[in-house]
């Protein structure tokens, strides 16, 4: 009975959970790096796929580099946190969106294909400002 209930849970949750596509991959990291997904804190490991709405963070000893599916890259220094607010890269439908919320710490942003094809959709938000780009590498600190 318990097994069949579990099965039911998987059947109900499975498809919606799987329907979410990876939008980025954690490629490089050192120290403690974590992801908050669906209110749960997960320890991050290199190669981990990131989803929309994930909050990626580093501890005092941590740093991390992420590559998005369009080739955009963001790396975080120590004690930093960034939410992937929304990401769409569908050249076939000309549908693009890149929005992150950088809460604290230090970061390097380098634009990818979205920055070339639809720079107006790129919004790098912080508590104080919204940063937009035209084919750019920039550094940000929020303290």
């Amino acid at each position: 009975m318990r097994i069949s209930m579990l099965f039911l849970v998987f059947v109900l949750l499975g498809p919606s959970a799987q329907a979410q596509e990876a939008v980025a991959v954690l490629k490089t990291m050192s120290g403690h790096v974590w992801v908050i997904r669906n209110d749960a804190r997960i320890s991050a490991a290199p190669g981990m796929e990131l989803l929309e709405a994930d909050l990626l963070g580093t501890d005092d000893d941590g740093s991390a580099g992420v590559s998005f599916m369009d080739g955009s890259r963001v790396s975080l220094g120590p004690d930093s946190a960034m939410e992937i607010s929304s990401f769409r890269f569908a050249p076939k439908d000309k549908d693009y969106d890149f929005q992150v919320y950088f809460k604290k710490g230090t970061a390097v942003y380098s634009s990818g294909k979205i920055g070339k094809l639809a720079p107006e959709t790129v919004r790098f938000r912080t508590p104080q400002a919204v940063l937009g780009i035209r084919g750019t590498t920039f550094l940000v600190r929020v303290q």
Binding site: V25, L26, K27, T28, M29, S30, P46, G47, S63, A64, G65, V66, S67, M69, G71, R73, S75, L76, G77, P78, S80, P91, K92, T106, A107, V108, S110, S111, G112, G115, T126, P127, Q128, A129, V130, L131, G132, I133, R134, G135, T136, T137, F138, L139, V140, R141, V142, Q143
Partner: protein, 196 residues
């Protein structure tokens, strides 16, 4: 009223002590040598950074721009800069009209591409097929897919894991060189390999 004063004072103290919540933005040159622009927007104002190495700070307002020296950049942003993922690299492989076999010069590139893939941390490879505008649109969709799949199979034969490769086909919709309909254009008969 009292609350307003306290809020004002604490904000003043924050600023004095250097703890006012602040965003600092520094424009950097791109790795390919170009320099873009960053627009910095608050609800009230906007500033556009155009010179590499210049920065602004945003608290309530946007500060006048300044120049950040390399030593400060390294001290503040060193760990983040060290973790930056390598620049994605793209390659173009070219095809004869109607063919899904890459030309000789393109095939010779493959070992170099495989080596680059292997050097990357957790590499991902996008393989995107294209055609020129000769012939039927639907057939071109099919041909662009065949081209992309042919390249995927060649890369797989040289040891690139299939699960890190993603194939897509854009048919004649995404030309490198825009042309009219029914134009044979060698530069548009291509597969793009994007290594991230």
């Amino acid at each position: 009223m009292r609350y307003i004063i306290i809020a004002y004072l604490s904000f003043f103290l924050y600023v004095l002590l250097g703890h006012a919540p602040t965003t600092t933005v520094v424009l950097m040159p791109d790795e390919d040598g170009g320099v873009g622009r960053v627009t910095v927007n608050t609800q009230q104002e906007e500033y556009v950074l155009t010179e590499p190495g210049t920065f602004v700070q945003v608290t309530e307002r946007i500060s006048p721009p300044g120049e950040m020296d390399q030593e400060t950049i390294d001290r503040v942003f060193g760990p983040a800069l060290e973790m930056q993922v390598p620049l994605p690299v793209s390659f173009h492989l070219y095809f004869q009209s109607g063919s899904s076999i890459p030309d000789a010069a393109s095939s010779e590139l493959l070992p170099k591409i495989v080596q680059l893939i292997n050097e990357r941390p957790y590499p991902q490879v996008s393989i995107i097929g294209h055609t020129d505008t000769m012939g039927d649109k639907d057939l071109n969709n099919l041909l662009s897919l065949e081209r992309a799949e042919a390249i995927r199979n060649m890369l797989a034969d040289q040891g690139v894991p299939r699960e890190i490769m993603e194939v897509s086909a854009h048919g004649q919709n995404d030309p490198l060189v825009p042309t009219g309909p029914d134009v044979s254009e060698p530069r548009n008969r291509r597969v793009e390999i994007l290594v991230r």
